[in-house]
């Protein structure tokens, strides 16, 4: 942090990449998590780009997401209600995760564990709402990967593939969080240090990040 100017940064950049030496001055697990997340970014971008392509090429109208995902509350139809709640749940969980990372580095094992468990519970409730949404769409609305009553038949394929893959990531994240939370509480990282909480956090924030794009492009566009 000594030289924060642009030339200083560029000099650091050149030195870090020069010759046979360590390029990333972070714990190896953190560098590997970032590289994994980069590969995941490519997968999700491929999904969203193929979604863009089928939506642009179909000559049949695309189903109106605002209505498809509306919920009726006390007789009033509210657009995208469940999706909005899911979005807020995921953001809340990102906040608790960020705090867990902070308390991890303070070596406050109990608070770290509690915040990570809270994050996992919020994640699990997200998956639960997604299961409710899928059930509603499959059973009540008759949406299938190969067709649906509302319009372009690619709608179902894109919906199940993109939200399914994201939901799978959330589910894996819940398990990952719980495993690390228990190990934190048991004191397994007292010697190694608490970078693991930050690494777990990177994965969890990434899951939230992907949802930002899915929310914008699939539900709102």
């Amino acid at each position: 942090m000594a030289n924060d100017t642009l030339t200083g940064n560029l000099q650091n950049f050149a030195e870090d990449w020069a010759a046979d030496r360590e390029a990333f001055k972070v714990p190896w697990g953190k560098a590997m998590m970032w590289i994994f997340l980069l590969s995941d970014t490519f997968i999700f971008t491929c999904f969203l780009t193929s979604y863009m392509t089928v939506r642009m090429t179909t000559t049949v109208p695309w189903p109106f997401a605002s209505e498809v995902f509306a919920l009726t509350v006390f007789g009033v139809s509210v657009p995208l209600l469940l999706i909005a709640i899911m979005t807020f749940i995921l953001i809340t969980s990102s906040g608790t995760m960020a705090l867990a990372v902070n308390y991890g580095y303070r070596q406050d094992r109990k608070k770290t564990m509690l915040l990570m468990v809270a994050t996992a519970i919020l994640g699990a409730s997200f998956v639960g709402m997604q299961a409710f949404e899928w059930t509603k769409l499959i059973v009540d609305e008759g949406i299938r990967p190969w067709g649906n009553p509302m319009g372009a038949s690619q709608f179902g394929a894109v919906f199940f593939m993109v939200t399914g893959f994201h939901g799978f990531h959330v589910s894996c994240g819940v398990i990952y969080l719980l495993v690390v939370a228990i190990k934190v509480y048991k004191g397994h990282y007292e010697k190694k240090g608490y970078a693991i909480v930050e690494i777990t956090g990177l994965y969890w924030h990434f899951v939230d990040l992907v949802w930002v794009f899915i929310f914008a492009f699939f539900y709102l566009w």
């Binding site: 590289i35 392509t53 090429t57 657009p79 909005a84 995760m97 960020a98 924030h205 914008a216």
Partner: protein
């Protein structure tokens, strides 16, 4: 900093947390008030990019990482825009071809730009 990892005041996270809530509410409002056309699309994109930016910069600590890591992650991601650009061109062409051949045969639409 690499010894102890990323440590920042709690208030930074809490402010960004609140900001993400506000931005999410704004993007939901876009749909709730049923805005349409370029206004809708530009607002969706602005709120999306702001949210994504704050998550990556603050929650994922990219703001405080060295340029070597930032470049290794952000640069390849930026190249994905080329894929999006190419698929936009391809999709435009496919749509045009379908509009000319399929739709005309089925008689579903009329008045497209048909050049034979």
């Amino acid at each position: 900093m690499s010894e102890t990892g990323q440590q920042h005041p709690l208030t930074v996270y809490i402010w960004i947390w609140i900001l993400l809530f506000v931005l999410s509410s704004f993007s939901y409002m876009v749909d709730y008030y049923n805005l349409q056309g370029y206004l809708r699309w530009s607002l969706i994109l602005i709120f999306m990019l702001l949210k994504a930016g704050f998550i990556v910069a603050i929650f994922m600590h990219m703001k405080w990482e060295r340029l070597a890591l930032l470049g290794a992650i952000i640069l390849p991601t930026a190249f994905l825009l080329i894929l999006v650009g190419m698929m936009t061109l391809e999709a435009d062409y496919t749509f045009l071809a379908r509009d000319v051949f399929f739709v005309e045969q089925d008689g579903l639409l009329e008045g497209g730009n048909h050049h034979h």
